[in-house]
């Protein structure tokens, strides 16, 4: 398949028999743009976060693929859950994820997000991330090297390009299911409190 300008031209001319005929030209173009510029929220949980700086800096240079950091959830397209999530972290992740604007994608790193990993018998970490948030792409390994992270990103880009990565829609459609699971571990009040009293309190931290 041609890329760049030629591809755009082809899409605009339209071919209903092509493999992407379920997308109309505008969809296809939008997805193509989206996959070329992925802004990743600078946020890490668990040990896998340590592999992200090399991925994004000169050694592995994810920016050559159009993948770069974003400072706030409102500007980001992708959130990486880079390892085990304790209940406390999960609260923050859910809040952050819900703050991100559509379209948004979730990339989960490490075996901890797949099935608890080596924290499988810990009372304080969740085992299966997809019960609580929709996951677009899992990258397994404990911990995944930057090469595998990049591979995961490329696979994600492919899915975005084909219009298949639509976890945010899934989240909206099945919100009750996700919310039920979230409440099962976090209690009725899922959102973290922002009172900050636990460290500002006199004699606090």
């Amino acid at each position: 398949m041609e890329t760049g300008f030629l591809q755009e031209q082809k899409v605009l001319e339209g071919d209903l028999n092509s493999e992407n005929s379920h997308q109309n030209s505008v969809d296809f173009l939008m997805n193509w743009f989206r996959k070329q510029s992925i802004f990743v929220l600078a946020y890490g949980t668990g040990c896998g976060a340590i592999e992200m700086p090399p991925t994004f800096t000169s050694r592995y240079d994810a920016e050559r693929l159009g993948i770069r950091g974003a400072a706030t959830p409102r500007q980001a397209d992708v959130i990486i859950v880079s390892g085990y999530c304790s209940y406390k972290t999960l609260r923050r992740i859910i809040r952050t994820y819900e703050q991100m604007s559509n379209p948004k994608y979730l990339l989960a790193l490490g075996s901890c997000t797949v099935n608890g990993g080596m924290y499988w018998d810990s009372y304080n970490t969740i085992k299966k991330l997809e019960d609580y948030l929709p996951v677009d792409m899992y990258v397994n390994g404990c911990m995944p090297r930057p090469e595998s992270i990049l591979e995961g990103f490329i696979a994600l880009q492919k899915e975005i390009g084909e219009g298949k990565a639509s976890s945010w829609q899934k989240y909206e459609e099945n919100y009750e299911f996700y919310r039920k699971n979230q409440e099962a571990v976090l209690g009725k009040k899922v959102e973290p409190s922002y009172e900050a009293d636990w460290y500002l309190y006199e004699g606090g931290l």
Partner: protein, 191 residues
């Protein structure tokens, strides 16, 4: 110093673990007087940590207060036992500021009540309603099985032991067959 401690506070001798590291077991009522004495008279100005060990069989917690003096580079471990049921003791936060957060941690993990500590809110857990997690009657595995879901195994997952056994048997058979073929070929050549 040691004889004084023994006479006034403890039933046992002060144990010298190695040079500059001492340990003594005292009754709970005497503990705070001893801490004050060590602090005021023997320069143990630093409270390093308060640890807790759960002796569930004997029905008590062992609290260990570790104090250091920089002047002589010596460390003192003071151990005391408190009952597990409705465990409570007095707070040290009026003597050492850092005790406040150590006690808060112990309160969270073991459910020990420290009277006089004005902030015993949760430190690293959030909205925890079950048994304090480091008490030994808290069964982690049971908790996980009751509260969390695991991923089912793959449909095509295989018992690795049986599988490797099978593969090894196949390899062995192949090897033997090759050996036999070689031998028979040799015999033919000789003929």
């Amino acid at each position: 110093m040691f004889s004084e401690i023994k006479n006034r506070f403890a039933t046992d001798d002060v144990e010298v673990k190695r040079k500059g590291l001492y340990k003594v077991v005292v009754k709970h009522e005497r503990l705070f007087a001893l801490i004050v004495m060590l602090k005021e008279m023997y320069d143990y100005k630093t409270l390093n940590t308060i640890t807790c060990t759960d002796w569930i069989e004997e029905g008590h917690f062992a609290l260990t207060y570790i104090m250091t003096t920089l002047k002589r580079n010596e460390t003192f471990m003071l151990q005391t036992m408190i009952l597990r049921e409705e465990a409570h003791t007095k707070s040290l936060s009026y003597l050492f500021k850092q005790a406040q957060i150590m006690e808060r941690d112990l309160h969270e993990m073991y459910g020990i009540k420290f009277e006089g500590n004005e902030n015993l809110k949760e430190l690293s857990l959030e909205n925890w309603v079950h048994t304090p997690p480091l008490r030994r009657e808290f069964d982690t595995l049971e908790f996980v099985n009751n509260h969390l879901t695991f991923r089912d195994g793959r449909d095509d997952n295989i018992d690795t032991k049986a599988e490797s056994k099978r593969l090894r048997a196949i390899k062995k058979a192949e090897k033997e067959a090759a050996k036999k073929a070689k031998e028979s070929k040799k015999a033919e050549d000789v003929q």
